[in-house]
Protein backbone atom coordinates (compact mmCIF):
# COMPACT_ATOMS: atom_id res chain seq x y z
CA UNK A 1 0.00 0.00 0.00
CA UNK A 2 1.39 3.35 -0.94
CA UNK A 3 0.15 6.82 -0.06
CA UNK A 4 -1.96 8.41 -2.74
CA UNK A 5 -2.54 12.11 -3.16
CA UNK A 6 -5.91 13.02 -4.57
CA UNK A 7 -7.20 16.43 -5.62
CA UNK A 8 -10.92 16.30 -5.02
CA UNK A 9 -13.18 19.30 -5.38
CA UNK A 10 -10.19 21.56 -4.95
CA UNK A 11 -8.96 19.96 -1.75
CA UNK A 12 -5.93 17.74 -1.36
CA UNK A 13 -6.37 14.37 0.31
CA UNK A 14 -3.45 12.16 1.19
CA UNK A 15 -4.39 8.64 2.13
CA UNK A 16 -3.33 5.03 2.10
CA UNK A 17 -5.41 3.00 -0.28
CA UNK A 18 -5.15 -0.64 -1.23
CA UNK A 19 -4.47 -0.88 -4.97
CA UNK A 20 -7.62 -2.83 -5.71
CA UNK A 21 -9.83 -0.09 -4.30
CA UNK A 22 -11.73 1.82 -6.92
CA UNK A 23 -12.19 5.56 -6.89
CA UNK A 24 -15.90 4.90 -6.26
CA UNK A 25 -15.12 3.02 -3.07
CA UNK A 26 -12.59 5.58 -1.90
CA UNK A 27 -14.90 8.52 -2.49
CA UNK A 28 -17.89 6.91 -0.80
CA UNK A 29 -16.35 4.80 1.92
CA UNK A 30 -13.09 6.51 2.82
CA UNK A 31 -13.92 10.16 2.20
CA UNK A 32 -17.68 10.16 2.86
CA UNK A 33 -18.44 11.70 -0.51
CA UNK A 34 -21.60 9.65 -0.90
CA UNK A 35 -23.09 11.88 -3.57
CA UNK A 36 -21.41 9.60 -6.09
CA UNK A 37 -23.79 6.67 -6.63
CA UNK A 38 -23.42 3.18 -8.04
CA UNK A 39 -25.79 0.85 -9.83
CA UNK A 40 -23.67 -1.93 -11.34
CA UNK A 41 -19.98 -1.45 -10.53
CA UNK A 42 -19.21 -2.85 -13.99
CA UNK A 43 -19.29 0.28 -16.12
CA UNK A 44 -22.75 -0.38 -17.48
CA UNK A 45 -25.01 2.29 -15.90
CA UNK A 46 -23.11 5.56 -15.52
CA UNK A 47 -24.36 6.32 -12.00
CA UNK A 48 -20.82 6.57 -10.62
CA UNK A 49 -19.65 9.18 -13.12
CA UNK A 50 -17.25 11.80 -11.76
CA UNK A 51 -15.09 14.28 -13.58
CA UNK A 52 -11.41 13.42 -13.85
CA UNK A 53 -9.52 16.35 -15.33
CA UNK A 54 -12.84 17.59 -16.63
CA UNK A 55 -13.73 14.33 -18.36
CA UNK A 56 -16.72 12.17 -17.35
CA UNK A 57 -15.19 9.03 -15.93
CA UNK A 58 -16.67 5.91 -14.36
CA UNK A 59 -15.32 5.83 -10.84
CA UNK A 60 -16.28 2.14 -10.53
CA UNK A 61 -13.69 1.19 -13.15
CA UNK A 62 -10.98 3.61 -12.04
CA UNK A 63 -8.40 2.45 -9.55
CA UNK A 64 -7.88 5.05 -6.87
CA UNK A 65 -4.13 4.80 -7.32
CA UNK A 66 -4.60 5.76 -10.96
CA UNK A 67 -6.50 8.91 -10.05
CA UNK A 68 -3.59 10.47 -8.21
CA UNK A 69 -2.36 13.60 -9.88
CA UNK A 70 -5.69 14.28 -11.52
CA UNK A 71 -8.29 16.90 -10.63
CA UNK A 72 -11.39 15.07 -9.49
CA UNK A 73 -14.76 16.75 -9.26
CA UNK A 74 -17.73 15.06 -7.63
CA UNK A 75 -21.29 16.28 -7.29
CA UNK A 76 -20.40 17.79 -3.92
CA UNK A 77 -17.85 19.96 -5.66
CA UNK A 78 -20.11 21.89 -7.99
CA UNK A 79 -22.81 23.27 -5.72
CA UNK A 80 -24.83 22.93 -2.57
CA UNK A 81 -28.48 23.21 -1.67
CA UNK A 82 -27.81 26.80 -0.61
CA UNK A 83 -25.68 27.60 -3.66
CA UNK A 84 -26.59 25.21 -6.43
CA UNK A 85 -24.89 25.06 -9.79
CA UNK A 86 -27.24 26.16 -12.60
CA UNK A 87 -27.47 22.52 -13.69
CA UNK A 88 -28.50 21.45 -10.22
CA UNK A 89 -31.13 24.17 -10.09
CA UNK A 90 -32.41 23.25 -13.54
CA UNK A 91 -32.60 19.54 -12.67
CA UNK A 92 -34.81 20.40 -9.72
CA UNK A 93 -36.92 22.90 -11.64
CA UNK A 94 -37.59 20.67 -14.64
CA UNK A 95 -38.31 17.50 -12.73
CA UNK A 96 -35.16 15.94 -14.18
CA UNK A 97 -34.75 13.88 -11.02
CA UNK A 98 -37.42 11.54 -9.76
CA UNK A 99 -35.63 9.03 -7.56
CA UNK A 100 -32.50 11.15 -7.91
CA UNK A 101 -30.12 8.24 -8.05
CA UNK A 102 -28.73 8.77 -11.56
CA UNK A 103 -28.76 12.53 -11.00
CA UNK A 104 -25.23 13.21 -9.68
CA UNK A 105 -23.62 11.24 -12.50
CA UNK A 106 -25.97 12.75 -15.04
CA UNK A 107 -25.26 16.30 -13.88
CA UNK A 108 -21.50 15.81 -14.00
CA UNK A 109 -21.72 14.36 -17.50
CA UNK A 110 -23.82 17.36 -18.50
CA UNK A 111 -21.37 19.74 -16.89
CA UNK A 112 -18.53 18.35 -18.96
CA UNK A 113 -20.65 18.85 -22.06
CA UNK A 114 -21.53 22.43 -21.19
CA UNK A 115 -17.91 23.19 -20.33
CA UNK A 116 -17.10 22.53 -23.99
CA UNK A 117 -20.30 23.40 -25.82
CA UNK A 118 -22.17 26.55 -24.93
CA UNK A 119 -25.54 25.75 -26.51
CA UNK A 120 -25.79 22.06 -27.37
CA UNK A 121 -28.81 20.85 -29.30
CA UNK A 122 -30.97 18.08 -27.90
CA UNK A 123 -29.30 15.45 -30.12
CA UNK A 124 -25.92 16.51 -28.83
CA UNK A 125 -27.18 16.33 -25.27
CA UNK A 126 -28.53 12.87 -25.96
CA UNK A 127 -25.20 11.66 -27.34
CA UNK A 128 -23.43 13.06 -24.30
CA UNK A 129 -25.66 11.31 -21.75
CA UNK A 130 -25.95 8.05 -23.70
CA UNK A 131 -23.84 6.31 -21.07
CA UNK A 132 -25.95 7.45 -18.13
CA UNK A 133 -29.00 5.34 -17.48
CA UNK A 134 -32.08 6.84 -15.92
CA UNK A 135 -34.88 4.51 -14.95
CA UNK A 136 -37.47 7.09 -13.87
CA UNK A 137 -37.78 10.07 -16.15
CA UNK A 138 -37.52 8.78 -19.69
CA UNK A 139 -34.64 11.28 -20.08
CA UNK A 140 -36.86 13.97 -21.59
CA UNK A 141 -36.88 16.31 -18.58
CA UNK A 142 -33.14 15.75 -18.24
CA UNK A 143 -32.60 17.03 -21.77
CA UNK A 144 -34.85 20.01 -21.02
CA UNK A 145 -32.95 20.79 -17.84
CA UNK A 146 -29.55 20.61 -19.51
CA UNK A 147 -30.72 22.84 -22.35
CA UNK A 148 -32.15 25.33 -19.86
CA UNK A 149 -28.98 25.37 -17.78
CA UNK A 150 -26.97 25.96 -20.94
CA UNK A 151 -29.01 29.09 -21.54
CA UNK A 152 -28.24 30.30 -18.05
CA UNK A 153 -24.51 29.64 -18.10
CA UNK A 154 -22.22 32.29 -19.53
Amino acid sequence: MEPVTLQINGATHRLFVAPHRTLLETLREDLGLTGTKHGCELGECGACTVLVDGTPTLSCLTLTVEASGSEIVTIEGIGTVAHPHPLQRAFAEFGAAQCGYCTPGMILTAKALLDHRARPGSDEIGEAIAGNMCRCTGYLPIIRAIAAAAEELP
Partner: protein, 325 residues
Protein backbone atom coordinates in the same frame (compact mmCIF):
# COMPACT_ATOMS: atom_id res chain seq x y z
CA UNK B 1 -21.08 -3.39 -4.17
CA UNK B 2 -19.16 -5.59 -6.55
CA UNK B 3 -15.46 -5.16 -5.85
CA UNK B 4 -12.11 -6.16 -7.24
CA UNK B 5 -10.35 -9.06 -5.60
CA UNK B 6 -7.22 -7.95 -3.75
CA UNK B 7 -4.44 -7.46 -6.28
CA UNK B 8 -1.01 -5.94 -6.45
CA UNK B 9 -0.40 -3.02 -8.72
CA UNK B 10 2.57 -1.68 -10.57
CA UNK B 11 2.84 1.28 -12.87
CA UNK B 12 6.40 1.52 -14.15
CA UNK B 13 7.44 4.57 -16.08
CA UNK B 14 9.58 2.47 -18.33
CA UNK B 15 8.25 0.20 -21.05
CA UNK B 16 10.95 -2.41 -20.58
CA UNK B 17 9.95 -2.68 -16.96
CA UNK B 18 6.31 -3.18 -17.97
CA UNK B 19 7.40 -5.96 -20.28
CA UNK B 20 9.55 -7.51 -17.58
CA UNK B 21 6.72 -7.47 -15.05
CA UNK B 22 4.32 -8.96 -17.56
CA UNK B 23 6.55 -11.97 -17.87
CA UNK B 24 5.63 -12.88 -14.28
CA UNK B 25 2.88 -15.38 -13.74
CA UNK B 26 -0.32 -13.62 -12.71
CA UNK B 27 0.47 -10.25 -14.26
CA UNK B 28 -2.26 -8.62 -16.28
CA UNK B 29 -1.79 -5.52 -18.40
CA UNK B 30 -4.05 -2.56 -17.92
CA UNK B 31 -4.43 0.42 -20.20
CA UNK B 32 -7.81 2.13 -19.64
CA UNK B 33 -9.13 -0.75 -17.58
CA UNK B 34 -12.61 -0.66 -19.07
CA UNK B 35 -12.42 -4.29 -20.19
CA UNK B 36 -10.01 -5.60 -17.57
CA UNK B 37 -11.65 -4.22 -14.44
CA UNK B 38 -15.14 -5.66 -15.10
CA UNK B 39 -13.59 -9.00 -16.04
CA UNK B 40 -11.55 -8.99 -12.84
CA UNK B 41 -14.57 -7.99 -10.77
CA UNK B 42 -16.45 -10.94 -12.24
CA UNK B 43 -13.51 -13.13 -11.18
CA UNK B 44 -12.92 -14.22 -14.76
CA UNK B 45 -9.15 -14.35 -14.29
CA UNK B 46 -8.65 -16.42 -11.15
CA UNK B 47 -4.89 -16.44 -11.66
CA UNK B 48 -4.56 -12.67 -11.78
CA UNK B 49 -2.33 -11.39 -9.00
CA UNK B 50 -0.97 -8.08 -10.22
CA UNK B 51 -2.15 -5.30 -12.46
CA UNK B 52 0.61 -3.80 -14.54
CA UNK B 53 -0.45 -0.38 -15.71
CA UNK B 54 0.75 1.24 -18.89
CA UNK B 55 -0.30 4.72 -17.77
CA UNK B 56 3.02 6.09 -16.68
CA UNK B 57 4.94 4.96 -19.71
CA UNK B 58 5.76 8.02 -21.80
CA UNK B 59 5.25 8.11 -25.53
CA UNK B 60 2.54 5.49 -25.91
CA UNK B 61 -0.31 7.98 -26.18
CA UNK B 62 -0.98 10.48 -28.92
CA UNK B 63 -1.61 10.76 -32.62
CA UNK B 64 0.93 11.67 -35.31
CA UNK B 65 0.78 11.92 -39.06
CA UNK B 66 3.92 10.91 -40.91
CA UNK B 67 5.18 12.52 -44.08
CA UNK B 68 3.82 9.69 -46.19
CA UNK B 69 0.36 10.33 -44.75
CA UNK B 70 0.28 7.29 -42.50
CA UNK B 71 -1.32 7.88 -39.13
CA UNK B 72 0.26 6.58 -35.95
CA UNK B 73 -2.04 6.18 -32.95
CA UNK B 74 -0.40 5.42 -29.65
CA UNK B 75 -1.94 2.47 -27.84
CA UNK B 76 -2.83 4.53 -24.79
CA UNK B 77 -4.75 7.12 -26.82
CA UNK B 78 -8.33 7.08 -25.66
CA UNK B 79 -11.15 6.15 -27.99
CA UNK B 80 -12.70 9.56 -27.35
CA UNK B 81 -9.50 11.27 -28.48
CA UNK B 82 -9.41 9.17 -31.63
CA UNK B 83 -13.08 9.83 -32.38
CA UNK B 84 -12.52 13.58 -32.10
CA UNK B 85 -9.27 13.93 -34.04
CA UNK B 86 -9.64 15.13 -37.63
CA UNK B 87 -6.28 13.72 -38.62
CA UNK B 88 -7.58 10.19 -38.06
CA UNK B 89 -9.35 8.57 -41.02
CA UNK B 90 -13.11 8.97 -40.80
CA UNK B 91 -13.79 5.24 -40.65
CA UNK B 92 -11.55 4.87 -37.62
CA UNK B 93 -13.08 7.88 -35.92
CA UNK B 94 -16.52 6.49 -36.56
CA UNK B 95 -15.71 3.02 -35.25
CA UNK B 96 -14.00 4.47 -32.17
CA UNK B 97 -17.05 6.66 -31.57
CA UNK B 98 -19.32 3.62 -31.66
CA UNK B 99 -17.51 1.75 -28.90
CA UNK B 100 -19.53 1.32 -25.70
CA UNK B 101 -20.58 4.62 -24.10
CA UNK B 102 -19.09 8.11 -23.80
CA UNK B 103 -17.55 7.46 -20.39
CA UNK B 104 -16.05 4.18 -21.54
CA UNK B 105 -14.59 5.89 -24.58
CA UNK B 106 -13.12 8.56 -22.32
CA UNK B 107 -11.15 5.90 -20.50
CA UNK B 108 -10.91 3.04 -22.97
CA UNK B 109 -7.91 3.04 -25.26
CA UNK B 110 -7.09 2.06 -28.80
CA UNK B 111 -4.71 -0.64 -27.61
CA UNK B 112 -7.26 -1.92 -25.16
CA UNK B 113 -9.99 -2.07 -27.77
CA UNK B 114 -7.74 -3.95 -30.17
CA UNK B 115 -7.00 -6.47 -27.42
CA UNK B 116 -10.45 -6.59 -25.85
CA UNK B 117 -10.95 -10.10 -24.56
CA UNK B 118 -13.31 -12.38 -26.44
CA UNK B 119 -16.74 -12.52 -24.90
CA UNK B 120 -19.38 -15.13 -24.36
CA UNK B 121 -22.63 -15.13 -22.46
CA UNK B 122 -21.49 -18.20 -20.55
CA UNK B 123 -18.40 -16.38 -19.35
CA UNK B 124 -18.97 -12.63 -18.97
CA UNK B 125 -21.45 -13.10 -16.17
CA UNK B 126 -20.98 -12.50 -12.45
CA UNK B 127 -19.54 -15.15 -10.26
CA UNK B 128 -22.56 -16.66 -8.50
CA UNK B 129 -24.01 -17.42 -11.90
CA UNK B 130 -20.83 -19.05 -13.13
CA UNK B 131 -20.65 -21.15 -9.98
CA UNK B 132 -24.17 -22.34 -10.69
CA UNK B 133 -23.23 -23.42 -14.19
CA UNK B 134 -20.37 -25.84 -14.51
CA UNK B 135 -17.35 -23.78 -15.54
CA UNK B 136 -16.98 -23.48 -19.29
CA UNK B 137 -13.79 -24.18 -21.15
CA UNK B 138 -12.53 -20.63 -20.91
CA UNK B 139 -13.38 -20.51 -17.22
CA UNK B 140 -11.17 -23.54 -16.62
CA UNK B 141 -13.76 -26.26 -17.21
CA UNK B 142 -13.89 -29.10 -19.68
CA UNK B 143 -16.81 -28.15 -21.90
CA UNK B 144 -17.83 -25.24 -24.05
CA UNK B 145 -21.52 -24.76 -23.29
CA UNK B 146 -22.12 -23.08 -26.61
CA UNK B 147 -21.07 -26.14 -28.60
CA UNK B 148 -20.35 -28.98 -26.18
CA UNK B 149 -19.50 -31.48 -28.92
CA UNK B 150 -16.04 -30.06 -29.49
CA UNK B 151 -13.44 -29.00 -26.97
CA UNK B 152 -13.09 -25.53 -28.43
CA UNK B 153 -13.93 -22.04 -27.21
CA UNK B 154 -16.11 -19.93 -29.48
CA UNK B 155 -16.03 -16.69 -27.49
CA UNK B 156 -16.63 -13.69 -29.71
CA UNK B 157 -14.19 -11.06 -30.87
CA UNK B 158 -15.94 -7.91 -29.65
CA UNK B 159 -13.68 -5.11 -30.81
CA UNK B 160 -15.04 -2.40 -33.05
CA UNK B 161 -11.59 -1.24 -34.13
CA UNK B 162 -10.17 -4.65 -34.96
CA UNK B 163 -12.15 -5.29 -38.17
CA UNK B 164 -11.49 -1.71 -39.27
CA UNK B 165 -7.74 -2.01 -38.72
CA UNK B 166 -7.67 -5.31 -40.57
CA UNK B 167 -9.60 -3.77 -43.46
CA UNK B 168 -7.24 -0.80 -43.59
CA UNK B 169 -4.19 -3.08 -43.46
CA UNK B 170 -2.92 -1.27 -40.42
CA UNK B 171 0.20 -2.41 -38.63
CA UNK B 172 0.56 -3.00 -34.95
CA UNK B 173 3.80 -2.41 -33.13
CA UNK B 174 4.57 -4.88 -30.38
CA UNK B 175 7.25 -4.49 -27.77
CA UNK B 176 8.27 -7.61 -25.90
CA UNK B 177 11.11 -9.36 -24.15
CA UNK B 178 12.75 -10.10 -27.48
CA UNK B 179 12.47 -6.59 -28.79
CA UNK B 180 10.19 -4.83 -31.15
CA UNK B 181 8.21 -6.25 -34.03
CA UNK B 182 5.59 -4.92 -36.35
CA UNK B 183 2.77 -7.14 -37.48
CA UNK B 184 -0.16 -6.56 -39.80
CA UNK B 185 -3.35 -6.14 -37.76
CA UNK B 186 -4.78 -9.25 -39.41
CA UNK B 187 -1.96 -11.29 -37.94
CA UNK B 188 -2.58 -10.05 -34.43
CA UNK B 189 -5.65 -12.25 -34.14
CA UNK B 190 -6.27 -15.97 -33.85
CA UNK B 191 -9.70 -17.50 -34.31
CA UNK B 192 -9.58 -19.13 -30.90
CA UNK B 193 -11.78 -17.86 -28.10
CA UNK B 194 -9.35 -19.10 -25.45
CA UNK B 195 -6.33 -17.37 -26.87
CA UNK B 196 -7.36 -14.83 -29.43
CA UNK B 197 -4.21 -12.74 -29.67
CA UNK B 198 -1.22 -13.92 -31.64
CA UNK B 199 1.13 -12.17 -29.31
CA UNK B 200 3.07 -13.34 -26.31
CA UNK B 201 1.61 -12.42 -22.92
CA UNK B 202 4.55 -10.16 -22.19
CA UNK B 203 4.25 -8.29 -25.46
CA UNK B 204 2.65 -4.87 -25.32
CA UNK B 205 0.99 -3.07 -28.20
CA UNK B 206 2.46 0.39 -28.23
CA UNK B 207 0.95 1.80 -31.39
CA UNK B 208 -1.06 1.10 -34.48
CA UNK B 209 -0.08 2.61 -37.81
CA UNK B 210 -2.68 3.18 -40.49
CA UNK B 211 -1.20 3.45 -43.97
CA UNK B 212 -2.32 6.29 -46.24
CA UNK B 213 -5.81 5.62 -47.51
CA UNK B 214 -5.37 7.39 -50.81
CA UNK B 215 -8.19 6.39 -53.11
CA UNK B 216 -9.76 4.04 -50.59
CA UNK B 217 -13.38 4.24 -49.61
CA UNK B 218 -13.81 2.73 -46.20
CA UNK B 219 -16.66 2.38 -43.75
CA UNK B 220 -17.86 0.55 -40.66
CA UNK B 221 -21.31 -0.54 -39.55
CA UNK B 222 -22.22 -1.93 -36.17
CA UNK B 223 -25.18 -3.98 -35.05
CA UNK B 224 -26.15 -3.90 -31.41
CA UNK B 225 -29.36 -3.68 -29.46
CA UNK B 226 -28.99 -0.15 -28.14
CA UNK B 227 -27.40 2.93 -29.58
CA UNK B 228 -24.92 3.03 -26.72
CA UNK B 229 -23.16 0.84 -24.16
CA UNK B 230 -23.55 -2.45 -26.03
CA UNK B 231 -20.77 -4.47 -27.61
CA UNK B 232 -21.11 -5.23 -31.32
CA UNK B 233 -23.03 -8.38 -32.16
CA UNK B 234 -21.97 -7.79 -35.74
CA UNK B 235 -19.45 -5.36 -37.15
CA UNK B 236 -18.78 -4.84 -40.82
CA UNK B 237 -15.71 -2.99 -42.03
CA UNK B 238 -14.91 -2.55 -45.69
CA UNK B 239 -12.19 -0.76 -47.62
CA UNK B 240 -12.69 -0.55 -51.37
CA UNK B 241 -10.78 1.04 -54.20
CA UNK B 242 -12.64 2.02 -57.35
CA UNK B 243 -11.32 2.62 -60.84
CA UNK B 244 -13.69 3.51 -63.64
CA UNK B 245 -16.85 2.27 -61.98
CA UNK B 246 -15.30 -0.93 -60.92
CA UNK B 247 -13.93 -2.05 -57.59
CA UNK B 248 -10.45 -3.39 -58.13
CA UNK B 249 -9.34 -3.85 -54.57
CA UNK B 250 -11.46 -4.83 -51.62
CA UNK B 251 -11.19 -5.89 -48.03
CA UNK B 252 -14.37 -6.86 -46.26
CA UNK B 253 -13.98 -7.80 -42.62
CA UNK B 254 -16.61 -8.93 -40.15
CA UNK B 255 -16.45 -8.43 -36.42
CA UNK B 256 -18.28 -10.30 -33.68
CA UNK B 257 -19.04 -13.36 -35.80
CA UNK B 258 -16.01 -15.40 -34.73
CA UNK B 259 -13.19 -15.26 -32.21
CA UNK B 260 -11.18 -13.05 -34.55
CA UNK B 261 -12.05 -10.43 -37.15
CA UNK B 262 -13.08 -12.43 -40.19
CA UNK B 263 -11.98 -11.47 -43.70
CA UNK B 264 -14.59 -12.72 -46.11
CA UNK B 265 -12.37 -13.54 -49.05
CA UNK B 266 -15.18 -15.09 -51.10
CA UNK B 267 -16.95 -11.75 -51.00
CA UNK B 268 -13.75 -9.84 -51.67
CA UNK B 269 -13.00 -11.94 -54.73
CA UNK B 270 -16.50 -11.56 -56.05
CA UNK B 271 -16.60 -7.81 -55.61
CA UNK B 272 -13.59 -7.25 -57.87
CA UNK B 273 -14.72 -9.78 -60.48
CA UNK B 274 -17.08 -7.59 -62.48
CA UNK B 275 -18.24 -4.00 -62.81
CA UNK B 276 -20.06 -2.55 -59.85
CA UNK B 277 -23.83 -2.95 -59.92
CA UNK B 278 -26.69 -3.39 -57.53
CA UNK B 279 -26.85 -7.03 -58.53
CA UNK B 280 -23.19 -7.46 -57.68
CA UNK B 281 -23.68 -5.85 -54.29
CA UNK B 282 -26.47 -8.29 -53.54
CA UNK B 283 -24.39 -11.29 -54.50
CA UNK B 284 -21.39 -10.06 -52.54
CA UNK B 285 -23.58 -9.53 -49.51
CA UNK B 286 -24.99 -13.05 -49.84
CA UNK B 287 -21.49 -14.45 -50.17
CA UNK B 288 -20.46 -12.72 -46.98
CA UNK B 289 -23.50 -14.14 -45.21
CA UNK B 290 -22.65 -17.66 -46.36
CA UNK B 291 -19.14 -17.35 -45.03
CA UNK B 292 -20.06 -16.99 -41.38
CA UNK B 293 -21.49 -19.19 -38.70
CA UNK B 294 -22.20 -17.12 -35.60
CA UNK B 295 -22.83 -19.10 -32.43
CA UNK B 296 -25.48 -18.63 -29.77
CA UNK B 297 -23.11 -16.93 -27.41
CA UNK B 298 -23.99 -13.27 -27.37
CA UNK B 299 -27.06 -11.08 -27.68
CA UNK B 300 -29.93 -12.10 -30.01
CA UNK B 301 -30.09 -15.39 -31.86
CA UNK B 302 -27.29 -16.81 -33.97
CA UNK B 303 -29.74 -17.27 -36.85
CA UNK B 304 -30.68 -13.61 -36.72
CA UNK B 305 -27.08 -12.47 -36.54
CA UNK B 306 -26.24 -14.60 -39.56
CA UNK B 307 -29.17 -13.13 -41.46
CA UNK B 308 -28.00 -9.65 -40.67
CA UNK B 309 -24.61 -10.19 -42.29
CA UNK B 310 -25.80 -9.71 -45.89
CA UNK B 311 -28.04 -6.83 -44.82
CA UNK B 312 -25.21 -4.97 -43.15
CA UNK B 313 -22.63 -5.81 -45.80
CA UNK B 314 -25.04 -4.74 -48.52
CA UNK B 315 -25.81 -1.46 -46.83
CA UNK B 316 -22.18 -0.64 -46.29
CA UNK B 317 -21.23 -1.51 -49.86
CA UNK B 318 -24.05 0.60 -51.23
CA UNK B 319 -22.84 3.51 -49.11
CA UNK B 320 -19.29 3.10 -50.32
CA UNK B 321 -20.15 2.37 -53.92
CA UNK B 322 -22.67 5.14 -54.32
CA UNK B 323 -25.67 2.87 -54.84
CA UNK B 324 -28.54 3.45 -52.50
CA UNK B 325 -31.82 1.72 -51.98
Amino acid sequence: MLRLPPLDYAAPSDLDEVVALLADEGSVLMAGGTDLVPNLKRRQYPGAARIVSLRRVPGVAGIDVADDGSVRIGALTTLAEVAADDRVPAVVREAAGLVASPQLRNRGTVGGNLCVDTRCHWLNIPETWRQAAEPCLKAGGEVCWVAPAKKWCWAVSSSDLAPVMVALEATVRLVGPDGVREVPAAELYRDDGMDHLAKRPAEVITEVVIPPLTGLRAGYRKLRRRGSIDFPILGVAAALRFVDGRCNDARIVLGAVASAPLRVTAAEELVVSEPWSEGLVERVAEAAGKAVRPMSNTDLTSRYRKRMVPVYVGRLLRDLGGYHE
